[in-house]
């Protein structure tokens, strides 16, 4: 499988893909920190269930974890980008016809899929690192300008930064797997991105508005909880367990389809 991973990593070294991916992570990290700090320092509060954002209170912002609060706040934006990249990379093999060469070279297709997943996970780790670094460099001047106290931000620095990185990374991997699964089924990046984003950000938001329907099992809710290290609605451990369940189920479905389906593209 190492060969499949190295091969996939070579294909992923496309300048346009990496610049777009890491560039958008940078942009969103800068943007969310500017908005979040302004919002929090102004005493604003979001309506409950507002999709895609989880801004901290001023007290939380001034606590040690406030340093990395931007990562959780922007997790859905990062997630959309990650889902899109994983979908584009997966569907691209079908669209370009490259899948024919790959399967002919390595007929054990599960190895190809596993190699792709591992390679994308490695790059997702790199993208998470970019977001984390940009977040730190963005929030410090923003907080200073907005008058938010940063005195506590050096406390437990490694645990805070590492924890936030791990949480965002895990959430992004789930977003990515969602993109990969839909792209494998649809063999189209446009369809995969539309369905993925539409489901998590639109469909689930509508479901959440229905008071009689419990929403703590929904993927979007779970992903927000994983990225934030747990929320009032879903404990971190529960979120991780559910996310693992979603990922396992998704990879089994994608794996069966990937291995069994005729390559006619």
């Amino acid at each position: 499988m190492i060969a499949a991973i190295r091969s996939e990593l070579t294909r992923l070294r496309q300048p346009r893909l990496l610049v777009t991916w890491f560039g958008l992570m940078t942009l969103f990290a800068l943007m969310i920190n500017a908005i979040m700090v302004t919002f929090v320092s102004g005493g604003g509060s979001l309506p409950p269930g507002a999709p895609g954002v989880a801004f901290p209170s001023l007290v939380e912002m001034e606590s040690p974890s406030g340093l990395m609060a931007g990562l959780a706040a922007a997790s859905n934006m990062f997630g959309v980008v990650t889902l899109s990249v994983w979908a584009v990379v997966t569907a691209g093999d079908y669209g370009s016809g490259l899948i024919r060469l790959l399967v002919a070279a390595e007929p054990r297709r599960w190895r190809l899929l596993a190699g792709k997943v591992v390679a994308l996970v490695i790059l997702t780790a790199a993208a998470t690192t970019v977001a984390a670094i940009v977040n730190v460099f963005a929030v410090l001047p923003a907080a200073g300008t907005a008058g938010i106290s940063t005195a506590a931000w050096g406390t437990d620095l490694v645990a805070v930064v590492g924890g936030a990185w791990v949480n965002l990374f895990l959430a992004l991997c789930v977003w990515g797997v969602l993109g990969l699964v839909i792209a494998t089924l649809a063999r189209s990046s446009a369809v995969a991105i539309s369905i993925g984003i539409g489901y998590v950000l639109v469909f689930e938001s509508i479901v959440k508005m229905l008071e009689d329907v419990p929403s703590d099992w929904l993927l979007g809710t779970i992903l927000n909880a994983v990225a934030a290290g747990g929320t009032a609605a879903v404990a971190y451990g529960t979120a991780l367990a559910l996310a693992l369940g979603y990922v396992t189920l998704g990879l089994i479905v994608a794996g069966v389809v990937y291995v069994r389906r005729d390559v006619t593209d």
């Binding site: 060969a3 370009s96 024919r100 060469l101 002919a104 390559v263």
Partner: protein, 315 residues
């Protein structure tokens, strides 16, 4: 031992039968041509041999291993299936490196195949800047990466300029001479005729012919193309010849008479007897294209009609 054996190989796509109990053996070494009209099942056969799709029934083996286990022979087979497929944003070299890594090959092979297809020097350019012909060369380079015993190429001269076609022709000949088997599917019958030692013709997914090219070319016949001095005489000339028992077909602006060189003088006299002076009389041999068309139908429309006639199947 044959490099490829199929027995009653059948593949259906819904109501369409792409391969219909195909049984064929391909000999080892040399260049083997696979020809057939559009929709005859060529690509389906190649895809089944490569493990890209599964047969509905029947069996096949490649290099002695059953197609149910393509991993057993994948490392010994190089492929170019339809149009070459690469990542446009990556350089030619990176595309090949990714395939070399997947096949666990030393990266020196990348340099070797780039040189072999004449792309050294352009190898660091993104593939999106390549012409179709250059992409085709890169596709052949990818197929040669593993220095395979069996090379399966689908339309390898697609998009190449005349010089490129000649180069690929020479390359295929060389590869076939060096103990390798090259299985090449092409619509360019002149290419097939010039390069192949063995020919497989399929139509409606069924085998029409499989044998040495020389055996196929033995089926060729001579014909005589004639043209009247005055175009207005062509109709009366055709009628007179038919009345005289000649087999005549109008092809473009000439009359094609099924006869060989020994009857050329008789034909000339028959025309003179009909009061027509010939401005041109050429004795020629049928080529592979003519035999192929006779075997498989002259046009795609004919093929489609044929399919409809044999059971509602459409190419």
């Amino acid at each position: 031992m044959p490099v490829v054996t199929t027995t009653d190989l059948t593949r259906r796509f819904g109501s369409i039968t792409a391969l219909d109990r195909l049984t064929v053996e391909l000999p080892a070494a040399g260049v083997i041509g696979l020809v057939g009209p559009n929709g005859s099942g060529k690509s389906t056969l190649i895809r089944i041999l490569l493990g890209l799709i599964r047969p509905t029934s029947g069996s096949a083996s490649v290099l002695g291993s059953a197609i149910s286990s393509p991993a057993h022979y994948a490392s010994r087979v190089g492929v170019l299936v339809e149009s070459p497929a690469f990542i446009p944003g990556l350089s030619a070299r990176s595309n090949l490196v990714s395939l070399a890594r997947l096949r666990r090959l030393p990266l020196e092979r990348v340099d070797a195949v780039l040189a072999q297809v004449g792309l050294m020097g352009r190898d660091r350019e993104p593939v999106k800047r390549f012409s179709l012909g250059m992409k085709q060369r890169l596709g052949i380079a990818a197929a040669l990466l593993s220095d395979p015993e069996l090379l399966i190429l689908d339309e390898p001269t697609n998009g190449l300029d005349p010089a490129g076609i000649v180069e690929v022709r020479e390359l295929l000949r060389d590869l076939g001479r060096n103990g390798r088997t090259v299985f090449v599917s092409s619509h360019q019958l002149s290419e097939i005729e010039a390069v192949c030692d063995h020919l497989v013709v399929i139509r409606f997914g069924k085998l029409v012919f499989s044998g040495p090219m020389t055996e196929m070319l033995k089926r060729t016949r001579e014909h005589i193309d004639i043209t009247a001095e005055h175009a207005a005489d062509m109709g009366s000339l055709e009628a007179a010849l038919v009345a005289g028992g000649w087999s005549v077909t109008a092809v473009d602006d000439v009359l094609r008479v099924a006869a060989g060189a020994p009857r050329a003088a008789d034909l000339n006299r028959a025309a003179a007897a009909a009061g027509v002076t010939l401005s041109r009389l050429v004795v020629a041999q049928d080529n592979l294209e003519e035999i192929f068309l006779e075997m498989t139908g002259r046009v795609d429309g004919e093929l489609a009609n044929g399919r409809a006639a044999v059971g509602g199947e459409v190419a």
